[in-house]
Symmetry: C2
C-alpha cells in the first residue's frame, strides 16, 4: 500500500512540474515576453498540456488510484485520492479526448473573433461562435451528468457545491433589496465629489505610483520573499506554489486609483495563496485556493471591505502624500473611492452596483442552461442583456462593445463563473462581521496591524487550501452558514450613510 | 519512412518543450524569482530533467532513430539524425544512468563547497571535491572513448572537432608571441590614462546606465521584438528559440564601463541566436549556436573588436554624453577602455592579457587529462597555477580566492571549456579581417550601419545554427581555414600603437 501511495505521489509530482512550468510560461507571456515569440510559446504550452493530460488520464493511473485501500492511508491522503477521483475521472475524463481538443481549438479561434467583434462593435461576428460554444457546453454537461438543472454542473465547476437553488436565494436578495436601493442612489448628484475630483484631475508619474503600490502591498502583508509584483495590462494573480505567488497591477497616469485598487484587490488573492500551509501545499492536489468564490472573497475583502473602509483612509492619505505629494482629507478620499456611478462596464463598477452587473449575467446563463434540448436564440440574449441593464441599473448600453461583448468569459467557454464574483463579495462581508468580533478593527487599521487580519484569515480559511469546500470554510470562518443578508445590509448601510439616502 | 520521421519529430518537439520550460525557469531564477521559492524550482527542474532524459534515452527511441533509412530523407533531416545519434547515443548514453545521476549530485554539492571555499579562501575545503570530479570525468572519458589523448574528448564536448594538436598550435603562439609582448606592455605606466580616470571617478545613476544599455543594444542590432534585456548579478544570454533570446547585464554605480561592455559582449551572443534561420530553428536539434568557440567569437567580436575599436568611440562618446552627461574625448575614451592592467581575475582581464589567463588553464587541464591512469596531486595544481601566473603575467596570486578558486567552471565539472574562450577571440579577429574586405568598416561604424555587420555575420555564420561545425563556419566566413596569426597580429598591432611599444 505504501508503495502504491508512493507511486501515486511520483505521478502527482510530474503533474506539478508541468503546472509549474506552464504557470511560469503564462506569467512570462503576460509580463515580459517579446511579441514575436508567441507562436513558439503556444506550441510549447500545447505540448506540455498534452503531456500533462496523458500523465493523469490513462488506465494505468486510474487503476492505481482506484486500487488504493482507503483504510490504510491517512486522512489527508484520503482527501487527495477523493480530489483526484473527482477532478480527473469524474469530470475531465468523461469528455471524449477528440471532442475536448476540438473544443479547445474552437475556443482559441473564438477568443480572437470576440476581440475583433468587441473592437468593431459587431456582435454578429461573434454570434455563431457563442452559439457553438454554448451547444458544446450543453453536450459536455450531458456527458458529465447533472442534478436538478444543467446549470448546476457549471456552477459546481467554479464553486463546488453551489446550485441554482442556493444561488437564487442570494441573487433574489440582490434583485429585490439592492436593485431598488442602488437605483435610488444612482439618481443622487453628490456635488462634493465633483469638487474633490478636480483635485486629482492631473497626471501622476507611473514610477511613483509603482513605489506606492509596492509599499501598499507590503503593508497589507504580501511577503516579497515569497512572491513578485510586476506590471501587466490586465492585473492578475498567479502562483506556482505557496512560496512563489505573483501578481500584477497596471499604472495609468490619469487614473491614480486604478493601480491602487488593483493592487489592493490582487494582494488579497496573493496573500491567500501565500498563507496556504506547507502541509497542504506539499500534497499538490489540494494546494492552491479553494473555490472561485472563496478566492474572490479574499480579493474583494482587501479591495473593498478593507481598502475602501473609512478606517483605511488615514493610511491611504499618508501614502498619497508621501509618494505623489497629493494632499487629501480623509473624508474627501473616502467619498472619492466610494463614488457610485452609472457604469456600463462590470470591471469598472463601484462596490454597490457590482453585484447587479453579475445578477444580469447570472439570469442569462441560468436561462441558457435551464434546458439542454432547447435551441438558443443568440439575438435574444443581446435583447435580454440590454433590457436588464435598463431595468436594474437604469442605463441601456449604447453599443454591444459596452454591452454583451464587454466580458471575455463566454468567448473562452467560462459559463458558471460570473456568479462566484458576487457570491465572493457576499462571503467577504460575512467574513468581516466575524473578524470584527475577534479583533479591534479600529485599532488594527489605525495602527496598520494587518498581521492580525491576515492571521485570522490564515487560521480560518487560507491555510486549508482546497482541503475544505466553500461552505465548510465559511462555517470555519464565521461559525455559521453562508448568509447573504450580511452583504446586503453592509452595502445598504455603507452607501446610505455616504449618500444620505434613507435605507429602503 | 515518412511516418518514422514524423514520429521522430514528435519526440523532438517534446524535448524542445522541456528545454523551453527549463530555460525559462533558469532565466526566472536568475532575474526575478523570490528567494524562498528556490527549493520548489529545483524540484521542478529535477522532475523535468528526468522526463527529458527518459524521452530520448530509451530503446524505443534508439530503435526508431537507427531504423530511419537515410536514403529516403532530405539533407537537413540527415543532419538532424546524425546530430541526435552523436548527442544522445554516442556520448550521453554510454554513461550508466546511476553514475551520471551520482555525478550530478556531486556537482551540486561541489558548487556550494566551491563558493564557500572561495569566500573563505580555503582551497583545502574544495580539494576532495575537485579530485572526485576529475576522477569521475576520467571514468566517463573511458566510457565514451577518445582519440590520441583523453583531453580531446573534453575539448570536443565544447568545440566539436577541436584537438590538443590543433589547440597547441594556437596556444603555443600565445605563449611564444603574446606573453613576451604583454609582459612588456604591462611594465609601461601610461600617465595619460591615470589623468583620464579621474574624470570618471564618480557615481553614475543605475537607471541612466540602464537606458544607455538599452539604446546601445538596439543600435548594435538586438531586436527587442524577439528578446528581452534584463538585469542579473552575472550577465548572461539564454534563448528559448530564435524569436525569444534574452540577455542580462549588471549595473554598478562606480563602474560605468562594466554595464556597457557586458551589454556589448552579451549582445553578440544574442544577435547570433536571433539570426539563426527559421528553417534551422524549426529542426530544434540543429537550433541554437554552433560550438562554444563560435559563440564566444560573436560576443568577443562585438565587445572587443567592435566596441573597443577606435572607430566605435564617436558613438560611445555620444551615448555617454546623452545618458550620463559625461563628456570625454574620443581618444581619451579609447585609452580608457583599452587599458592593459596587471589583473589576477580572468573575467576582468583586458583584451590583450585575456588569452594568457586562458593559456594557463589550458596547460593545467591538458596535463590533468593527459593520462587516465595517473593520479592527480591537487596541491600540485595550485602550485602550477601560481607559478604560471608569475611566469606569464608577472603576478603571483596573493590568495587562492584570486588564484585557482576564482572560476566556477571546475566546480561544476566543466573541463575543456576554457580554451574555447580564447579560441573564440581568435576566430573573432579572423572574422573581422574578412568583414573588412567586404564592407567599408569606417563608414559602417561612423554612420552606425550595424546592419551591414550583422548581415555579413548572418549570411556567413549565424543562419546556420548547429548545421555547420566551427571549422566549416570559419571557412564560410573567411574563405580560409582557422589561422590564429590574425589574432596575434591584431593584438600586437593594436596595443603597440596604444602603448607605443615596439612590436616584439
Amino acid at each position: 500500500m505504501d508503495n502504491k501511495m508512493k507511486e501515486l505521489k511520483k505521478i502527482i509530482e510530474i503533474d506539478k512540474a508541468y503546472n509549474h512550468a506552464m504557470t511560469l510560461l503564462s506569467w512570462d507571456l503576460e509580463t515580459e515576453m517579446a511579441k514575436d515569440s508567441i507562436d513558439n510559446v503556444s506550441k510549447t504550452m500545447q505540448t506540455l498540456s498534452e503531456l500533462q493530460y496523458n500523465n493523469l488520464v490513462n488506465d494505468k493511473f486510474k487503476k492505481l488510484l482506484y486500487s488504493i485501500n482507503e483504510n490504510e492511508i491517512n486522512d489527508l491522503d484520503k482527501k487527495v485520492i477523493k480530489r483526484l477521483k473527482k477532478d480527473v475521472f469524474e469530470k475531465m475524463s468523461k469528455i471524449p479526448v477528440d471532442e475536448y481538443s476540438k473544443y479547445n481549438s474552437l475556443l482559441s479561434k473564438s477568443q480572437n473573433i470576440w476581440e475583433k467583434a468587441k473592437n468593431e462593435n459587431d456582435f454578429n461576428l461573434f454570434k455563431p461562435y457563442l452559439k457553438e460554444i454554448i451547444e458544446t457546453n450543453k453536450k459536455f454537461i450531458r456527458y458529465k451528468g447533472y442534478k436538478d438543472t444543467p446549470y448546476n454542473s457549471l456552477l459546481d465547476d467554479f464553486e463546488e457545491g453551489m446550485t441554482v437553488a442556493k444561488a437564487d436565494i442570494f441573487f433574489n436578495k440582490v434583485k429585490e433589496e439592492l436593485v431598488p436601493f442602488a437605483l435610488k442612489v444612482l439618481e443622487i448628484k453628490n456635488k462634493r465629489i465633483e469638487e474633490i475630483k478636480k483635485k486629482i484631475n492631473k497626471k501622476f508619474d507611473k514610477e511613483k505610483q509603482k513605489k506606492l503600490s509596492y509599499e501598499l502591498a507590503k503593508i497589507m502583508g504580501f511577503d516579497f520573499n515569497k512572491g513578485v509584483l510586476k506590471e501587466s495590462e490586465h492585473p492578475f494573480t498567479t502562483n506556482m506554489n505557496n512560496k512563489d505567488v505573483r501578481f500584477t497591477t497596471h499604472y495609468h497616469e490619469d487614473d491614480l486609483f486604478s493601480s491602487i485598487y488593483s493592487t489592493a484587490h490582487e494582494v488579497g488573492h496573493a496573500i491567500y495563496e501565500q498563507q496556504i500551509s506547507d502541509e497542504i501545499d506539499d500534497t499538490i492536489v489540494l494546494a492552491g485556493g479553494s473555490t472561485m468564490g472563496i478566492h474572490e472573497a479574499q480579493s474583494r475583502f482587501t479591495e473593498n471591505v478593507i481598502a475602501k473602509n473609512r478606517l483605511f483612509m488615514p493610511l491611504l492619505v499618508k501614502l498619497l502624500d508621501k509618494h505623489l505629494e497629493l494632499k487629501l482629507e480623509e473624508d474627501e478620499l473616502y467619498l472619492l473611492v466610494n463614488e457610485v456611478k452609472k457604469q456600463y462596464i462590470r470591471t469598472e463598477a463601484d462596490e454597490l452596483t457590482y453585484p447587479i452587473h453579475v445578477l444580469i449575467r447570472y439570469e442569462i446563463e441560468k436561462e441558457i442552461f435551464s434546458n439542454l434540448d432547447k435551441e438558443i436564440d443568440i439575438e435574444e440574449l443581446r435583447k435580454k442583456w440590454n433590457n436588464m441593464y435598463e431595468k436594474y441599473l437604469g442605463i441601456r448600453p449604447r453599443t454591444d462593445t459596452e454591452g454583451i461583448l464587454q466580458d471575455t468569459h463566454w468567448s473562452v467557454g467560462l459559463f458558471g463563473y460570473f456568479p462566484s464574483y458576487a457570491i465572493g463579495s457576499a462571503y467577504a462581508s460575512q467574513m468581516f462581521e466575524s473578524l470584527c468580533k475577534e479583533i479591534d478593527i479600529e485599532d488594527t487599521l489605525k495602527n496598520e496591524k494587518f498581521y492580525l487580519i491576515n492571521n485570522f484569515l490564515k487560521e480560518r480559511i487560507h491555510k486549508y487550501g482546497k482541503l475544505l469546500k466553500a461552505d465548510e470554510l465559511i462555517l470555519s470562518c464565521c461559525n455559521e452558514e453562508f448568509n447573504p443578508q450580511y452583504y446586503i445590509d453592509y452595502l445598504k448601510e455603507k452607501f446610505s450613510r455616504i449618500y444620505g439616502v434613507i435605507n429602503v
